[in-house]
């Protein structure tokens, strides 16, 4: 299989970037998209050129480290799929594939296709936890949690933190990510004591990090590998309205 890659190359955060075109042969349909990039990189090394830097680790769709914009879509042409799960059989022989880094003010480019998503970590730091010291827990079954509640909490807890929601959003909003984490904990009884602090702290940080506001285009829920629904954002809003109106 033969593919023409048009890839964004950028030396560093403060350098100018541009697209470079690479024709590459010898790919197979069973290869994953990232393996095709590996393949390209091996050719580049042998030619004495620098490899294309891209983020990845688990390569099974769970760590959330991979993520680039492929042919105009976050994580490529399929819905609910990470870049590492994308396989070359989704492309045609001879096709040109355009690969760009995620674009958002809060995700500056580090190099080539690698962006800095530490803004997500800082949102988490503002309250996505339960303040309780190790070793102080009561017997687990002392807290009964209805199955539906646990299931709903798990639905949003499944977020892998890949940033596709931000990348695809016309407003670069981190609402899906932030709401998923807030709702995961605020739905559970364990999360109640800090529910308000968490809500306010994390949403404030979202703005500080210069993420945009959600206008419900719903593009994020289509790209989300964990299939988190935008109803999660609405739920976060409900919590916010309630907190503001009733304290």
């Amino acid at each position: 299989m033969k593919i023409t890659f048009k890839i964004w190359r950028q030396e560093g955060a403060n350098s100018e970037g541009s697209f470079k075109t690479y024709d590459i042969d010898g790919l197979t349909e069973d290869m994953s998209f990232l393996e095709a990039l590996d393949h390209l990189n091996e050719r580049l090394v042998l030619k004495g050129e620098k490899v294309v830097a891209f983020d990845h680790d688990c390569r099974e769709g769970i760590c959330g480290q991979c993520g680039v914009f492929i042919n105009g879509r976050a994580h490529g042409p399929h819905d609910h799929m990470t870049t590492c799960q994308l396989h070359m059989r989704s492309f045609k022989d001879g096709e040109t594939i355009v690969v760009e880094p995620y674009r958002a003010g809060a995700f500056p480019v580090v190099k080539d296709l690698v962006v800095d998503r530490t803004a997500f970590d800082r949102i988490i730091e503002q309250g996505a936890y339960i303040t309780a010291k190790t070793g102080t827990a009561a017997e687990a079954n002392a807290i009964l949690i209805p199955k539906e509640v646990a299931d709903n909490s798990m639905d949003v807890a499944a977020c892998i933190g890949c940033g596709a929601c931000v990348a695809t959003c016309k407003n670069a909003s981190a609402a899906l990510f932030t709401s998923a984490k807030i709702n995961h904990l605020n739905k559970l009884p364990q999360g109640q004591p800090e529910a308000h602090r968490r809500l306010v702290g994390m949403t404030d940080q979202m703005a500080i990090e210069n993420f945009g506001s959600c206008t419900f285009t719903a593009a994020c829920e289509v790209e989300c590998p964990a299939e988190i629904s935008i109803s999660s954002i609405a739920e976060m809003n409900a919590r916010y309205v309630k907190a503001k109106l009733f304290g």
Binding site: E35, K50, R59, Q65, D121, E125, T134, A138, P146, S153
Partner: protein
């Protein structure tokens, strides 16, 4: 140096309690003065860093990913064991201890294994407190499932993402301490060497992966929590960046390496389909509850699975292990698959897989039931392979999965270098020669949350009197120079082969000779081959780019350089152990019908290796079994 495992005296049940009662404490004002480096942010590292910081220590934590949340603990699917006996099915700490010890084929310490079982129940309490959305019953209590061939239901789970949920809980606690400025997090930092001063671990040298800058970090103690090293096989269920570099460098600086060759090969991963494949994806073991494993009876049968009639199929697990059948333990199922594949009965493009067939289950239970149970796995299978497994059987294949071996640690989780600790998958502690399913998330978590924070004080108390060396100490300068010169050397070779090319070659040798079944001749040959690979690597590898920038190719090469050396030790270890136990199967030591033959008389010890200027010296930690008599594992 003699190996002192520091097992506390007293009854098995009381050892941990009496250890804690007797260990030295440090008052809060003094804890603030002590600095601890935690290398790794997986369940072990994040749990330890957060808990140590809560206790008042100054902590610096490292991971090579862009965020601590991505450590490979995130990928664990199945669940975590705990002796809660919520199912009222006769479980207990004792039974769990026994299952683990026996599952490990009696190659681990009773005291450690018992502590693992003892601390399992409080760990579940801890994770529930932290907001892990474990599966629940309608009544609101926690749900369990059975896992890994034990007879009780003691596995707690959060859908198919247990590892993710536990890791996110640990990461959240870590984030809390980062915000409180008690932990300084260094993401995208790879630790490349350990600094040992006057025999004690006092710091690390790390490379900032975003800028290439080499940095020195000084501390009163160093904790390694760098996870498994099965990427030495190249193709494994591990993440691409998983490495053995930090523990290997620690080994070269004097930390002993225990049972390096004990590697778990998981029977149900997706097979390799091409040369350029980079990783193997795990398919949950639970599929074996309803799927039947088979290969064609005819060699090189090129017919489609559906065209092969029942009587021409060999359900080899059912044939060989009538009582356990398709549910035989991991090591046995993997080995049986390898036997068939090697004998020429493999299926798939590269003839390296076996069928996992749901036809019978679908006929019997209906497609809906199967879909309900395994729907997400079937769709994951389709995403990766493009094949609909309701219509044709899955193709699966064994894959390297977990390192039982690791840095030797004593009861306090301290390595043979004072002040250097190893926790989580990177140590050799509780699993013996084979790990039970769902026991690893457990071990890794309790190491970080419960054990280390209660043992490290015993050492640090002594360090209070000493001044912490500063990063300008000559030893720091020396180690940094060594790191830099290694980087310079690799970049200067400018050969004609890529790092991946060498890794593939290494992986093939390791997979052939040091995986599911091993023999003397093969291992001896492998050692020679790997030494050749090493020579060639240092002459012919080509790495482009510079050291002072983000350079993924350089990262790979540095990791591979360490893997190559580690591989030699793994083969040396496998060669030395003239018995078959757990995952270590030596072809020379098997019964007539091909089952493992353990030799307690001569090998009832943990092989502990000391690095000796390029060579390895064996020490033996003889295992005493006071409470349990080793028996033969049989799954016939």
């Amino acid at each position: 140096m003699t190996l002192d495992s520091k097992i506390p005296a007293g009854r098995l049940e009381d050892k941990w309690t009496s250890y804690q009662a007797k260990s030295h404490l440090i008052n809060p004002a003094n804890k603030k003065k002590l600095n601890i480096l935690v290398v790794g942010s997986g369940l072990a590292g994040a749990g330890a860093a957060a808990t140590l910081a809560e206790l008042g220590y100054q902590v610096q934590c490292f991971c090579y990913q862009d965020s601590p949340r991505r450590a490979h603990s995130v990928a664990a699917q199945g669940g975590i064991n705990a002796a809660k006996n919520y199912q009222h099915d006769g479980d207990s700490v004792w039974r769990m201890f026994y299952d683990t010890l026996k599952g490990g084929d009696f190659r681990s310490r009773e005291a450690n294994t018992y502590r693992l079982a003892e601390l399992s129940a409080p760990l579940i309490d801890h994770f529930v407190q932290q907001g892990v959305p474990f599966a629940r019953e309608y009544g609101g209590v926690l749900a369990n499932r059975s896992f890994g061939g034990v007879q009780v239901q003691r596995t707690f789970y959060a859908r198919g993402q247990t590892g993710q949920q536990l890791l996110l809980a640990a990461y959240s606690q870590l984030s809390k301490m980062i915000r409180a400025k008690k932990v300084a997090m260094f993401a995208r930092h790879e630790v490349l060497d350990i600094v040992v001063i006057q025999g004690k671990a006092k710091g690390v040298i790390a490379r900032d992966l975003a800028t290439g800058e080499i940095k020195r970090f000084a501390a009163d103690a160093v904790v390694l929590a760098t996870g498994g090293y099965s990427r030495v096989f190249r193709l494994s269920t591990l993440a691409i960046g998983c490495n053995g570099s930090a523990i290997w460098k620690a080994h070269k600086r004097g930390a002993y390496f225990a049972a390096p060759s004990f590697t778990q090969i998981h029977p149900t991963a997706l097979p390799q389909t091409s040369e350029s494949q980079s990783k193997l994806t795990l398919m949950s073991e639970s599929l074996r509850n309803d799927g039947r494993i088979w290969v064609p009876k005819k060699k090189d049968d090129n017919r489609q699975a559906k065209d092969i009639p029942e009587e021409e199929r060999d359900y080899y697990l059912e044939r060989r292990y009538p009582s356990f059948g398709n549910l035989a333990p991991r090591d046995i199922a993997s080995r049986a698959a390898k036997e068939r594949i090697d004998a020429g009965y493999g299926v798939g493009q590269l003839k390296n897989a076996v069928y996992l067939d749901f036809k019978h289950a679908i006929n019997k239970l209906g497609k809906d039931v199967i879909q309900d149970k395994y729907g997400n796995l079937f769709s994951m299978y389709e995403k990766i392979t493009g094949i609909n497994a309701y219509e044709e059987p899955m193709k699966i294949s064994p894959a390297a999965h977990f390192s039982m071996g690791g840095l030797w640690v004593d009861y306090e989780l301290m390595t043979s270098i004072p002040g250097l600790y190893a926790i989580g998958e990177c140590n050799y502690s509780d699993h013996g020669a084979n790990r039970l399913g769902a026991n690893s998330l457990l071990q890794t978590s309790i190491d970080g949350y419960f054990i280390l924070p209660n043992t490290i004080n015993n050492y640090l108390e002594g360090e209070l009197k000493e001044t912490r060396p500063d990063v300008n100490h000559p030893e720091f300068v020396k180690v940094e120079d060594e790191v830099k010169s290694q980087i310079g050397k690799i970049l200067a070779i400018n050969g004609h082969r890529t790092t991946d090319d060498f890794h593939r070659e290494l992986g093939k040798v390791m997979w052939q000779e040091c995986a599911m079944s091993r023999n003397k001749k093969g291992l001896e040959k492998a050692i020679l081959q790997i030494k050749e690979i090493k020579d060639a690597f240092w002459k012919e590898v080509k790495v482009t780019g510079h050291d002072n920038e983000m350079n993924p190719e350089l990262e790979k090469a540095l990791r591979l350089a360490d893997f190559i050396e580690l591989a030699i030790l793994m083969c040396t270890d496998a060669l030395e152990r003239n018995e078959s136990c757990g995952a270590h199967f030596r072809e020379e030591y098997q019964t007539e019908d091909g089952e493992a033959m353990r030799n307690d008389e001569d090998y009832k010890y943990v092989s502990v290796w000391e690095y000796d200027a390029g060579d390895f010296k064996l020490h033996k930690e003889v295992l005493e079994f006071e409470y349990v008599q080793p028996t033969v594992r049989s799954y016939k």
